[in-house]
């Protein structure tokens, strides 16, 4: 069955590009523009993987990540954090929060797609 990917970012253009890339790989895609919408979408859409931006209105990516990791029902959901802040402390914080990977913007589309595929075993 097709794997499901949730894209969470408040930059419309980045969402468009990620959506295009994921759909092209054959994943089923949903999008959310802020942290709260992301949590609702996780509940209704039940994604296998979340591409999660860090700096967002309402709830930051860290908070969303912590909420997901605190929910046993979502234990299997993979999380890739995307951030434009590339400092080591931020990478460490993201991984400590329970993210599976941490990707710094701007990212290589090829590498990102490869990483998503590897994580989903597709």
């Amino acid at each position: 069955m097709t794997k499901k990917v949730l894209i969470v970012d408040d930059e419309p253009n980045i969402v468009i590009s990620l959506e295009y890339l994921m759909k092209k790989e054959g994943f089923e895609v949903a999008v959310a523009g802020d942290g709260e919408a992301a949590l609702q979408k996780v509940a209704s859409f039940a994604p296998d993987l979340v591409l999660l931006d860090v700096m967002m209105p309402k709830k930051s990516g860290y908070e969303v990540c912590a909420a997901l990791r605190g929910d046993p029902a979502q234990a299997a959901t993979k999380i890739i954090m995307l951030t434009a802040k590339g400092r080591d402390t931020e990478v460490a914080k993201g991984l400590a929060m329970g993210a599976d990977a941490y990707v710094t913007k701007p990212f290589s589309t090829k590498d990102l797609v490869a990483q998503v595929k590897a994580m989903l075993g597709a």
């Binding site: 930059e11 419309p12 590009s17 990620l18 295009y20 400092r87 290589s108």
Partner: protein, 911 residues
């Protein structure tokens, strides 16, 4: 010898010699060749401890109790031999803080509290006045005895003589005049009196020689040496018991109590503090006094017992033992020796009275009168240019009043008690200072409330158990006072709570110190010391680190304010001289060129402290300097680091003070740099985030287009459009960051000219009309006909207007949005309003939107287009031209951005 005039002449001659010595020493000191800068002179001047109470009273006490006179000298001996390091620490701390009296010392220790200084002064005055009375009585008695010889007349009822025929009255007047001449010729910044100290040292020699003369005469002239006297005395049962201590617990307790009491007194009596601490020229002098002062005490006591025993054997009952020193030679017709004794007694009295009243007058002036006068606004003292004359005047009056009080006490109570009893009452009063002084030196947690409570409690108990009973015994209070109030046995003043078996001094000492220490510790523990107390505690308890007080003044003040302030109290000329010396020591040529830093403030404070005491000095300096909140950690750190090195000479102390000030400044600068560095770091992190976001889209779409040539044309066009937009956004961002950086660093170029603001608004509206039409937003303007003219940069104002207008159109709803621009002139300024009917801005966001990279619109689902730098830049521009920019908004009711600019002087709005 019956001629009184010979005695008067001899007395005046002696006082003349004293004055000559003092005058000579002052001149030498002015010439820089101090006579008293010598350890032997210091030790001799400490001999002021021996008053007429020693000179006449020791023999009296010995006649009554045998060796019972010894504890009074044993205490000081023990204190100097074993507790000299305490004295050295007090001297060190007092020098570093320019302490002028014991009241100043206590006040300074507990956060420079004026209240505490006043309390110590009151206790000292009340406690010491009977002691001064004692001196007057002794001189007047000796005069009477000598003047009526060869008859042996006991001056029993001095009070019976009318005042104008009372020799004590004249003694008091002469001593007052003499003390005023001695002690208040000028104000010294350190409150030191070199001439006085020289004279006191001389007096110590005179009284020792006089006592030795009579002692030798009695022992070897009247009798045949020590063995002869004591051998004969042993045959008389009444005298035999004098040579041994009574072997009872109470007797030992009383010995211990008296020894302890005199240990405290030798440091805490105002005159001892004055001589040992305030007048100390060099800390190292303490070392010699450790053995020389006890030796002096031993010598002056060698002949006490022989004279006492000799007197008891010589005279039948009826001759007061206090007068044996005088009456023994008189009885043998040795008038020359008697005259020498009279001079010795006079010297013991004058020494005590001069130093004690100078010390008390300094305290009364600095800690009692000046704080009150300065607070009394109606006097206008805070506006008087020169107060130094007033200070001297107050001190002179204080001296006169103290001596007259002493005389009044003598008239009223002089006959009620033996000499020794009065002295001990005074000792017990000043012993109340002990917890606050010694606690303050070794315990950091003592607080102002603790010291106040301890002193008050101790003083109250002392008054109840010693002073009031002495009044009762003199008949001033009803006799049933001694039975306790309301007949309550527990409250009997001299058997408090049923404590019996102690003599009255030990009893009072026990209860008063118990109450004193209990309250001091108890109240101190109720709260931890505040920053000022802790700062002073560090200076006093720490190993006498010099100049740490400077740290309390975080801010500086200019010479122009400090010099007149100091001049008002120490005199303009002396103040200018002192400032000039300070300037030279800092390597500055002109007083006016001194930097207005914390070091200068500290210097001015210590100069003032020398004249008016530390508590008042702090208040006066605070009137011109903003007191910085003291940073406790910084103080502690610097103390720890710097206290290792103790600077010995004045120059080195000065240098280290400067270094500490510089260290504090460097530390501060470092803090500021670190803060700036952190802000820069945050800024760069934010900028990099803002730059990476458009870059991410550009890279992603470019890679997608590059990798996949089969994307259809429509999609391809859309993606390329995004890339172009994001590139524009990136360019705009970089331009604005550079612009803001230029504005903030002050490197922006401005072309200032007369600008018609209405025209700027009109042109900006025209430039954006296309955008407004596209979004279907209505733009209305309300402009005055002849535009208001402001002094500004035309292009920059256009930049502000474009920014506000494009913000407005961004946030209103498509199709139904309305934006209104108004320009109006109000009281010398022009006000521009850009109001929209958008969603408004929440109150908590209204400041944030002017911060860099903070955008409104988190309530919107889509992120507004923009860099988040427009408003900060606009605000910088408006403020550069003397205006301000703010927002007025209610959520849901639109937002109005308003800025004002001052109207050009002559180009006001034409109506």
């Amino acid at each position: 010898m019956a001629q009184g005039w010979i005695l008067v002449l001899a007395s005046l001659l002696y006082l003349g010699i004293l004055f000559a010595i003092a005058y000579w020493a002052d001149r030498r000191s002015d010439a820089g060749r101090s006579v008293i800068d010598h350890p032997t002179v210091y030790a001799l001047s400490l001999g002021v401890y021996c008053t007429t109470w020693t000179f006449y009273g020791s023999v009296g006490r010995a006649a009554a109790t045998g060796i019972g006179f010894l504890p009074i000298y044993l205490g000081p001996t023990l204190m100097f031999a074993l507790g000299w390091f305490v004295l050295r620490k007090i001297v060190r701390v007092a020098k570093a803080n320019r302490i002028t009296s014991i009241a100043d010392f206590v006040a300074s220790r507990y956060g420079k509290s004026q209240l505490l200084g006043g309390l110590v002064t009151v206790i000292a005055v009340v406690g010491v006045i009977p002691y001064i009375a004692l001196q007057l009585k002794a001189v007047s008695n000796s005069f009477t005895i000598l003047a009526s010889s060869p008859d042996l007349v006991m001056p029993a009822r001095a009070a019976a003589a009318p005042m104008l025929q009372d020799s004590a009255f004249y003694v008091a007047i002469v001593l007052a005049a003499f003390t005023i001449l001695f002690g208040t010729r000028h104000l010294d910044a350190t409150e030191r009196h070199e001439g006085m100290v020289a004279a006191i040292a001389f007096e110590s020699v005179v009284k020792l020689l006089a006592f030795f003369a009579v002692g030798l005469y009695v022992t070897y002239g009247v009798f045949d040496g020590f063995g002869d006297i004591f051998g004969r005395a042993a045959e008389i049962p009444r005298l035999a018991k004098l040579a041994v201590a009574r072997d009872t617990a109470a007797a030992y307790g009383s010995w211990a109590a008296l020894t302890f009491l005199s240990m405290l007194s030798v440091m805490l009596l105002p005159r001892q503090f004055q001589i040992a601490v305030v007048e100390n020229v060099n800390e190292s002098h303490v070392a010699r006094s450790v053995w020389l002062f006890p030796l002096y005490l031993l010598l002056i006591n060698v002949f006490v017992l022989p004279i006492a025993v000799g007197g008891l054997m010589q005279f039948p009952e009826g001759v007061d033992a206090d007068t044996f020193v005088l009456t023994l030679p008189l009885a043998k017709g040795q008038e020359a020796i008697a005259l020498l004794v009279f001079i010795g007694g006079l010297s013991a009295a004058t020494g005590m009275v001069i130093v004690e009243t100078i010390a008390l007058s300094t305290m009364v002036c600095n800690d009692l009168v000046m704080p009150l006068l300065l607070r009394w606004k109606a006097l206008g003292l805070d506006r008087r240019p020169d107060l130094s004359g007033l200070l001297l005047e107050i001190r002179r009056w204080a001296i006169a009043v103290v001596l007259m009080l002493g005389y009044a006490y003598f008239r009223a109570a002089g006959e009620a008690y033996a000499l020794v009893a009065i002295g001990l009452i005074s000792f017990a009063a000043v012993a109340q200072f002990a917890p606050a002084v010694f606690g303050g030196l070794y315990w950091k947690d003592g607080t102002r409330e603790g010291a106040l409570a301890g002193l008050t409690a101790g003083f109250a108990v002392w008054a109840y158990t010693l002073l009031l009973p002495s009044f009762a015994k003199s008949g001033w209070l009803p006799a049933d006072f001694m039975a306790g109030p309301f007949g309550l046995e527990l409250l009997r003043p001299q058997q408090l709570f049923g404590l019996t078996g102690l003599d009255e001094i030990s009893h009072s000492l026990f209860w008063s110190l118990l109450a004193n220490i209990g309250c001091y510790v108890g109240f101190s523990l109720r709260r931890s010391p505040d920053a000022r107390e802790a700062g002073q505690a560090a200076v006093f308890v720490g190993s006498g680190n010099v100049g740490a007080g400077a740290l309390q003044w975080g801010a500086g003040a200019p010479v122009a304010e400090l010099l007149p302030l100091a001049g008002r109290f120490v005199g303009p000329d002396r103040a200018r001289e002192a400032f000039a010396r300070y300037a030279r020591s800092r390597g500055v040529r002109d007083v006016e060129d001194l930097p207005a830093d914390a070091g200068l403030v500290h210097f001015a404070e210590s100069l003032l402290a020398g004249a008016i005491g530390s508590a008042s000095a702090r208040v006066m300096v605070a009137s011109v300097v903003e007191e910085a909140p003291p940073d406790l950690d910084a103080i502690m750190n610097i103390l720890d680091e710097a206290s290792q090195v103790r600077a010995h000479s004045r120059e080195i102390e000065q240098k280290s003070r400067e270094l500490e000030a510089a260290t504090a400044e460097l530390r501060e600068a470092n803090e500021r740099l670190r803060e700036l560095d952190r802000m820069k770091d945050d800024f760069i992190s934010t900028v990099s985030h803002e730059l990476r976001t458009p870059l991410t889209s550009i890279r992603a779409f470019s890679e997608m287009l590059f990798e996949d040539p089969r994307i259809d044309l429509e999609e391809r066009k859309r993606f390329l459009g995004i890339i172009v937009n994001e590139t524009e956004r990136l360019t705009r961002l970089i331009n604005q960051i550079l612009d803001l950086a230029k504005l903030e660093s002050g490197r922006a170029e401005w072309t200032t000219s007369d600008v018609d603001l209405a025209e700027v608004v009109r042109e900006s509206c025209d430039a954006l009309s296309q955008l407004y039409r596209e979004k279907g937003v209505a733009l209305a303007t309300d402009l005055p006909a002849g535009g208001p003219v402001v002094q500004a940069d035309r292009d920059r104002l256009t930049q502000v207007m474009i920014n506000l207008l494009s913000n407005a159109v961004k946030f209103v709803a498509q199709g139904e949005g309305r934006v209104r621009v108004a320009v109006e002139c109000l009281r010398g300024e022009v006000r521009v309003t850009v109001a929209d009917n958008g969603p408004g801005i929440r109150p908590e966001d209204q400041d944030a939107i002017f911060e860099k990279f903070r955008q409104g619109g988190s309530v919107l689902t889509d992120k507004p287009v923009g860099t988040g730098l427009g408003l900060p830049i606009s605000r910088q521009i408006v403020e550069y031209f003397g205006g301000s920019l703010w927002v007025e908004s209610e959520p849901g009711a639109g937002a109005a951005f308003v800025f004002t600019l001052p109207l050009a002087e002559d180009g006001g709005a034409s109506e």
